[in-house]
């Protein structure tokens, strides 16, 4: 069983992480991978910046990863998050889960993403028309989190 948590300050290729991750878990029944990218809703988002606070963000992600592995009885979990300035089309986050069975892998990724979005130590701002705007948490994020009852 392996947990990999990483914070990256430069663009990354998700496949370079997922390949070795699945190779490291022979005998798995299912692997589920989610990659979140910088969306451009209406071509007005020029850039996005994610800030973190190292002494809390990384330990928080490690704790979330351990909790996810326990809850869904995973064989392994990969959790990679970008920080810094990124542009539309660039990956922001990668979560991949290996499990004996399909359901655990799929649900684990859903659980980890909901918690990364609304309970992890990241702060996001978007650049529109040359101006930076801080992004506030959305009601939907809290509703997503409430599904898990934890």
């Amino acid at each position: 069983m392996a947990i990999t948590v990483d914070l990256l300050d430069a663009p990354f290729n998700p496949g370079r992480f997922v390949g070795p991750f699945t190779d490291a878990h022979p005998g798995l029944g299912g692997v589920c991978t989610f990659v979140g990218e910088v969306r451009s809703d209406d071509d007005t988002v020029e850039a996005l910046e994610l800030l973190h606070y190292e002494r809390m963000t990384r330990p928080g992600m490690e704790e979330l990863a351990a909790q996810t592995v326990r809850r869904f009885e995973l064989m392994g979990l990969l959790m990679v998050h970008r920080v810094g300035v990124m542009y539309p089309g660039e990956p922001i986050v990668l979560v991949s889960a290996c499990a004996r069975h399909r359901r655990g892998a799929i649900d684990a990724v859903d659980f980890a993403m909901d918690h990364l979005k609304s309970r992890s130590w990241f702060w996001k701002r978007e650049k529109r028309a040359g101006e930076w705007h801080w992004i506030e948490p959305r009601e939907q994020d809290h509703a997503d989190l409430a599904r898990w009852g934890d």
Partner: protein, 80 residues
């Protein structure tokens, strides 16, 4: 002797810097005097959390940081 106060996100914009050294001890009641009214008001926002050395205070009005402590003012998160 000093306490390091870390400002994050929009609170760093408000402070005009990412961190500031202030005299120890730093308490909740002393916050406005040390950081100014604007930052103290932002800290009092119910969605702003305060951490000391990486641990979030359950009750931020219990803030009592000493020499060498790092106090972080944390606005609402938005990741993923």
């Amino acid at each position: 002797m000093a306490v390091t106060v870390v400002f994050i996100g929009k609170l760093a914009d408000l402070a005009g810097e990412d961190e500031r050294e202030v005299p120890a001890p730093l308490t909740w009641s002393g916050l406005a005097g040390v950081l100014g009214a604007d930052l103290a008001e932002a800290a009092a926002d119910e969605r702003t959390k305060i951490a000391v050395n990486g641990q979030v205070l359950a009750d931020k009005t219990a803030l009592d940081a000493g020499d060498g402590d790092e106090v972080a003012l944390l606005p609402p998160v938005s990741g993923g």
